[in-house]
Symmetry: C2
Subunit: 223 residues, 2 copies
DNA sequence: CAGAAATTTGACCAGTTGGAAAAAATGTTA
DNA sequence: TAACATTTTTTCCAACTGGTCAAATTTCTG
């Protein structure tokens, strides 16, 4: 059973000696990425269209495709940029300090990310909901290693009696979940809090509540 | 400037005396809804196609459209069904009991929902990420009222010294966030836990961890 | 300013999408 | 089983989709 050789995928793209990236290129690429973040973070990869992104970026579709030859290219780039920003707080989580300030500031930082980069959070959430088709390797690799490392730090603190003995992985999950909630479920949070309490102050309220929850729990000490 | 009268939208649909729904209708509708839940929960409304759903349901597109004349109809129905299931645990949250068993069982129940109805959770998450275009009224209405009511119960317990004084709204958010995380971010949870700890047992681990966190926090009592 | 390089545009295309219409097939029931 | 209602399939459509291509325009550089 003979088979005609499959059509070679146009080898990588020439990119002759990769030209030095002009001012216009940087500007337009940033414009596109910003617009694409708006669209992808709301509609996911499948639900977003190049036309939508081009319109949001104020340019024609072929013009956009001049900078990013395919839709997936833009998405890949956004995911990579996002992961960098997103994992920074966890990377800073250090064995040096004491658990209280360390955990407290980790929560603060993650909450600030939700406040300042909500679109990135939603982009990531969308990717997870879809089963991480373009991120799975990274989750199993870099992320797992990073979490394993930080979990060990937490366990050390538990051994030293500085923290209640508990599952360090689920501890990390619960910090992720509670902080990212304010970006991913923003509409719900606002709707439930109503106009008065749903303003910018909600992040300060959340920070105070979460610090308290994570450090002391809900039950009075002398229970 | 005269304008031709706009084309009347085909008045509602006759549905002559709404026929009594046959056996086949029920069966096929359930089949479609199940398939649609698979697709919508992963790709969101925009990202899902009728073809995909029809294929997943094992029928042709026009056949599917015979039961649900438009895509949005299916989605609307799924959202309504989901909200019913999803809010049941909160409705059961009662002022009668004591805070400890009440909160503990709320967490358990929400976690069981994430385990048993992950697709519904993701459908809801998708809707929130998109800014709740088809759910917003419900969030501001029914949901807000329900949460207001339960927040009052929590405040009563705080007044009685049975709970630490803290923000009851953010308390509810944190329970939602931590429990739904196991459905919405399932891939991530599994990837990070690895093959051994990422099995079915992860829900039991999570339940134990979360009960502990919410009741006692992370710091040892005699801090 | 001329020429080259970079950027933008308009026309186009094949495949997909949500959906309509009518004919064909299959139940249901008197 | 004939007459009727329900269900399914076939065919079709206009709009949208991701993407190509060559020509036109703009920007940069000597």
């Amino acid at each position: 059973m003979t088979v005609t050789s499959p059509p070679e995928k146009a080898a990588k793209k020439p990119k002759k000696a990769s030209r030095p990236v002009t001012r216009i290129q940087r500007e337009k690429q940033d414009l596109i990425l910003d617009a694409a973040l708006d669209v992808f973070s709301v509609h996911g990869f499948r639900g977003a269209t190049i036309d939508q992104i081009a319109e949001a970026a104020g340019m024609s579709k072929p013009n956009l495709l001049y900078y990013f030859p395919r839709k997936e290219e833009i998405h890949k780039r956004l995911i990579a940029d996002m992961l960098d920003i997103w994992l920074a707080p966890l990377r800073e989580f250090s064995a040096e300090g004491d658990p209280v300030p360390e955990i407290r500031s980790y929560i603060r930082r993650k909450l600030e990310m939700s406040r300042d980069f909500p679109r990135q959070s939603r982009l990531f959430a969308n990717e997870m909901l879809q089963g991480a088709p373009r991120t799975f390797d990274m989750l199993e690799g870099d992320l797992k290693r990073l979490v394993d490392e930080k979990a060990k730090i937490l366990e050390t603190w538990m051994d030293q009696g500085k923290l209640n003995r508990t599952d360090p992985y689920h501890l990390i999950f619960s910090i992720w979940a509670t902080t990212q909630h304010y970006a991913d479920f923003d509409v719900q949070v606002r709707a439930v809090l109503g106009p008065e309490r749903g303003g910018e102050g909600r992040f300060e309220d959340a920070a105070r509540y979460l610090e308290n929850l994570f450090l002391h729990g809900l039950l009075p000490k002398k229970s």
